[in-house]
């Protein structure tokens, strides 16, 4: 070991130097941003932002432009509060794993992390995170008139709440909507689908694989956040109820009809490879003009409108989810929220709350969206007031016809808190369902067999 240490030290020094060199450029820019920034809009809040000055907290986020924009503004937060924030970027598949390990072991590594709304049931059941009500009610920590909690999109707040208590503050979110090629639809005299049936027949009308255009595409790859992100909307629209008679139920006639619709459209009108696609792959295909329509996150609009890649700019339009036989439209409810880790000492919890309050505030939301100096603007801001800001609307409507109208309509009318079963066992249930959906899609099992098998597997989880 002794012969090894000096080498390591020398290398470490070199490492630090290299790292410093690599980050020098952006660091300068950030410094400049902090100096120029006007902190007055924050200082109008009747709280002492500096009350835990000198603390350092670590925040885990996923690599995504909406968090990058926030990271860029972090020096402003430091100037405002004296709190240092270290950001750690972790890919979405691992951030859940790493944060759960951190929370179970009560090590307090991450003061807060970008959290999956489906995990709050688990977090709250184990008291791993703090109910935010306490912090919202504490006048020394929050100025309610300034923060305006009610302005934050209600659907996202209810998604992050358990039994009426808020556990994670929504930062950025999305809804699923229909995205379609207006030029192709117009050429055939088609309208965006109002029902799932019409969506299927539109897909049939536009499906011309010989010209490399497929009718539709939905997420096919197995995963709680992949195929099990799209299927629940269909399930609900077919009248499915996850908690039938108080018991978690994933099979039955509604489920079979929903899964049959999904398998049908994927097999008949989607590219074969879509069985393994997640949404970036769908958006990539759509941007190359090979898919006529898809139903997925509204935030994918930025990819299909990226001038460096996309061939369909100016040909895109949007519509809300088609209605199912139940007469409902059901969008996804997704947002990355920030909870407070209960394992932290009090001062750090306060520092974390100040960070969360800053990140979720209307001012920071605007500064990371339409007021952001960099090239990528956010399309998932958490506040109704920002969505009504003419500057923001103008920017968002650049993504194509009806974008803001459809997104807001979906957010306000198509959300459904029971879109996915909100139980602490969700991670395991989500994976089981994802596997069942894929085995039906790949033809390994019949639709009924796949769902019945999933039900058999899920029952013991609910007992345990």
């Amino acid at each position: 070991m002794s012969s090894f240490t000096p080498t390591r030290r020398t290398l470490l020094k070199t490492g630090t130097a290299a790292a410093a060199f690599a980050t020098l450029g952006p660091a300068f820019l950030r410094q400049a941003a902090a100096q120029d920034a006007d902190l007055a809009p924050y200082k109008s809040a009747q709280i002492d932002w500096q009350q835990v000055s000198g603390e350092t907290i670590t925040v885990a986020v996923i690599p995504a432009s909406y968090f990058e924009n926030l990271i860029t503004l972090a020096p402003q937060f430091k100037a405002l509060t004296g709190i240092d924030v270290r950001f750690e970027k972790i890919p979405p598949a691992q951030i859940r794993q790493k944060s759960v390990i951190d929370l179970t072991s009560k090590t307090g590594t991450y003061a807060t992390h970008a959290a999956d709304p489906m995990y709050y049931a688990l977090y709250a059941a184990n008291k791993w995170v703090e109910p935010l009500d306490t912090y919202l009610a504490d006048k020394s920590l929050t100025d309610p008139a300034w923060f305006k909690l009610d302005d934050i999109i209600p659907a996202w707040r209810s998604a992050n709440g358990i039994d009426g208590k808020l556990y994670g503050m929504p930062y950025d979110g999305e809804v699923t909507i229909q995205v379609y090629r207006k030029d192709l639809y117009d050429a055939k005299g088609l309208k965006p689908a109002d029902t799932l049936e019409a969506y299927m027949s539109n897909a049939a009308a536009l499906n011309t694989p010989n010209d490399r255009v497929w009718g539709a595409a939905l997420r096919g790859v197995a995963g709680a956040g992949q195929n099990m992100y799209i299927y629940p909307s269909i399930f609900r629209e077919f009248g499915g109820d996850w908690m039938k008679g108080g018991k978690l139920t994933v099979n039955g006639p509604e489920a079979e009809a929903a899964l049959a619709w999904y398998v049908d459209i994927m097999k008949k009108y989607a590219p074969t490879a879509a069985a393994n696609w997640n949404w970036p792959d769908i958006a990539d295909a759509f941007s190359q003009g090979t898919v006529a329509s898809y139903i997925d996150a509204h935030s994918s609009a930025s990819v299909i409108n990226n001038p460096e890649k996309s061939k369909v700019i100016g040909k895109v339009a949007y519509a809300r989810w088609p209605k199912g036989p139940s007469g409902k439209r059901t969008t996804s409810i997704w947002n990355w929220g920030f909870p407070i880790n209960s394992a932290l000492p009090e001062k750090k919890r306060k520092a974390t709350w100040l960070f969360i309050q800053w990140a979720a505030s209307a001012e920071t939301q605007a500064r990371t969206a339409h007021k952001f100096a960099g090239p990528t603007k956010r399309s998932g801001v958490n506040r109704t007031s920002v969505w009504k800001d003419p500057d923001y609307i103008k920017l968002m409507n650049g993504f194509g016809e009806n974008f803001v109208e459809v997104t807001m309509g979906a957010l306000q009318e198509d959300t459904d808190v029971d879109w996915r079963p909100r139980v602490p066992q969700w991670p395991a249930i989500g994976d089981t369902m994802a596997t069942a959906i894929q085995s039906a899609l790949s033809g390994q099992a019949t639709i009924k067999a796949a769902l019945d098998d999933a039900q058999r597997r899920i029952e013991p989880m609910m007992r345990g």
């Binding site: 090894f4 290398l11 952006p26 990539d284």
Partner: protein
């Protein structure tokens, strides 16, 4: 004559098919790394295109530069390899030559540690490192890597040591050499090939490791295998950059492979032909 020729042609054809299948992903990555994002997505895939270094420039000197990550990987891999070899050579020698109680058990134990599926032991390792404050440190990751590289190295080296005729050692003892001196002067030069093979494999395993690294690393220590993953974001997959990082991450391994190739082939066959036994 013609039959023989036919057979050669058939063999060549089969080898070519296999070679193409194996080389394709690498060639594809190299090509994608030199394309722009719109060329990556083009259909039919462009075989002729104007190459650009943009992806490389971005991943090396852009805001999300992977240089610190490459350095992390080097420190971890070299550190793991050096420590492993320092401990594995004497251990393997002892298992091959010395007679001591529990030798059989020790030999089995070394192998048994390899039988656990790694994913099952991540959490305990995380807790151990957490308690001693070694999460996100080089010593922490190297310590954990030793847990699988050391048994592997010992297990590999034992067979090489066993192949050396005991008479060589005896001759050295007769000339008055001590055991350590014999090990250093007589034995080790004989197993150079084996040591080279082991070094390469231990280095490769550490360099390519992802599962442990993703859990045990953080902002300070983040090897390139983990950093690379950030190019697959929830918003989009940055194919060209991902390909560029893959190619960069492949380079040291390829270089090492080419340099050590002679030893690897020799090392692997020496053990095999003599049939000296791995117990």
């Amino acid at each position: 004559m013609t039959a023989k020729r036919l057979r050669i042609i058939a063999l060549l054809a089969i080898s070519t098919v296999f070679l193409l299948a194996w080389a394709f992903p690498i060639v594809w990555s190299v090509m994608n790394s030199l394309k722009t994002d719109s060329d990556v997505l083009a259909y039919p895939p462009k075989l002729v295109f104007t190459p650009t270094w943009e992806a490389y420039r971005d991943v090396l000197f852009g805001s999300g530069s992977i240089l610190p990550n490459l350095l992390s990987s080097v420190i971890i891999s070299v550190g793991t390899t050096v420590v492993t070899m320092l401990m594995a050579v004497p251990a393997a020698y002892a298992l091959a030559r010395l007679r001591f109680r529990g030798k059989k058990f020790a030999g089995f134990y070394v192998l048994a540690t390899q039988m656990l599926p790694p994913v099952g032991i991540i959490i305990p390792y995380f807790l151990v490192l957490r308690n001693i404050g070694w999460i996100d440190t080089y010593q922490g990751i190297i310590l954990i890597y030793l847990s699988f590289s050391l048994p592997f190295a010992i297990w590999l080296l034992v067979s090489y040591f066993e192949d050396i005729p005991f008479e060589m050692e005896e001759a050295a003892y007769l000339d008055g050499a001590s055991r350590l001196k014999t090990l250093w002067r007589i034995i080790i030069p004989q197993v150079r090939g084996g040591i080279a093979v082991t070094v390469v494999f231990v280095f490769l395993n550490a360099w390519n490791e992802f599962l442990f690294a993703v859990v045990l690393s953080g902002n300070t220590v983040r090897p390139v295998t983990v950093a690379m993953f950030n190019f697959v974001s929830v918003e989009q997959t940055l194919w060209a950059k991902l390909a560029a990082v893959s190619v960069l991450a492949m380079l040291p391994v390829v270089v090492l492979g080419v340099v050590a190739q002679k030893h690897i082939v020799k090392g692997l066959t020496v053990g095999a032909v003599k049939g000296g036994g791995r117990r």
